[in-house]
Symmetry: C2
Subunit: 233 residues, 2 copies
């Protein structure tokens, strides 16, 4: 595999779990959700049912915390056979609100990487989720100044990337995407002829997991974001 | 007042209640919500409490149906002093899902206006609400083909418009916005030096109401969208 980034002029960054912590809060909230409902089912079963509910509602609600809150409430009613207490539903609403209000925790090396790369590349943020929530996180992060453009997408499939690159008048050959999700940040980019770097986060949402045959795709995988500075300056 | 649109090259359209029906479904759902809870309070009080809850949560949830669903649930718990039944909460979730799945009803004359104006102007859609929901409505509407660009904004204040026009490299003097909300589609545009046309819809959400002194602002008010064709071809 040859790594050649000499044509790259624009770098796209995923945000959740690439620039800042995100999935960890979902896992923590799922844990608290299972604690609230463990009188009705095993924790393992509660986890599974909540995930199924999220997937069932995904096409209707899309990604993000508000849809997750609605799925938790529906799942609590479902799992408990309508016996979950009203006070527990209030607690579920409060778990979601706490997620929306959570401070932003930057991942290691993020500021240094953005500071270095912004001197020679045009940087953009490409994320999915609730529009307002993502804008708020970017503002809280103090990173806005490094980015030429921020785009919140309803999904991160090939056609979403193609549409955006065409709108921003970026040739696919000059575009490199960096993110933690193989499924959303890496594979669709390679499929449209752009390049991508994978920086795994320690936790991945089940829905973002994907299995690929070895050697089917060529991309650089690094262990932490700052490792990208070995390849791009 | 002089109407001079000779510098206009780009026309922005609001979507909800300008291109298609929206507020009507919120009013219908509020009515059904009040019916579900009328054992606990008068309908009038229920309406008022739900509105207060929406405003309280607006900075956290933003605009759109998912936030409205969460506020209905919280309000139901609140109004009933935690006595609302679990079955009623399920009904509230279903009211919201029905809104998300509602077919798109175009307002009168919309297709003719877009068809005519798209021949001489660059048309864009500027709307707020849930990203996925707005994208889905545009797709269902069959109107996508008329628009060069679609932007879902988290809010429609002066800075949101300024940022977008600058990103799209549109000079304010060549931009005209058309929409049903004085507060969101007309006044901020005039304040930044663009032009705006007001097409009132028969119902306005209380939060979008605004009082202005006569003669303080200059803009064209028309009674139905197709009237714009008297001024622009």
């Amino acid at each position: 595999m040859e790594i050649n980034y000499s044509d790259i002029t624009v770098i796209g960054f995923d945000a959740d779990d690439t620039l800042w912590v995100n999935e960890t809060y979902f896992r923590d909230t799922e844990e608290q959700f299972a604690n609230l409902l463990e009188g009705f089912e095993t924790k393992n079963k509660i986890d599974q049912e909540l995930f199924k509910m999220e997937i069932k509602n995904l096409s209707l609600y899309g990604y993000g915390i508000k849809g997750f809150m609605l799925s938790m409430i529906e799942s609590a009613l479902d799992i408990s056979n309508n016996k979950v207490s009203q006070a527990t539903i209030t607690k579920i609403l409060n778990l979601g609100k706490a997620m929306l209000e959570h401070p932003v925790e930057l991942l290691e090396g993020v500021r240094e990487v953005l500071n270095t790369l912004s001197q020679n590349y045009r940087l953009i943020v490409l994320t999915k989720g609730d529009l307002l929530d993502q804008e708020r996180k970017l503002e809280k992060s103090g990173l806005s100044t490094y980015f030429h453009h921020v785009e919140v997408l309803s999904d991160k499939k090939e056609e979403n990337y193609q549409h955006l690159l065409s709108h921003l008048q970026i040739d696919v050959r000059e575009f490199l995407m960096i993110g933690n999700s193989l499924k959303s940040d890496v594979l669709p980019l390679i499929n449209i002829g752009a390049q991508a770097v994978h920086v795994p986060f320690h936790t991945t949402w089940q829905h973002e997991e994907v299995s690929i045959r070895q050697n089917e795709y060529e991309y650089l995988k690094i262990n932490k974001l700052s490792d990208i500075l070995k390849y791009l300056k």
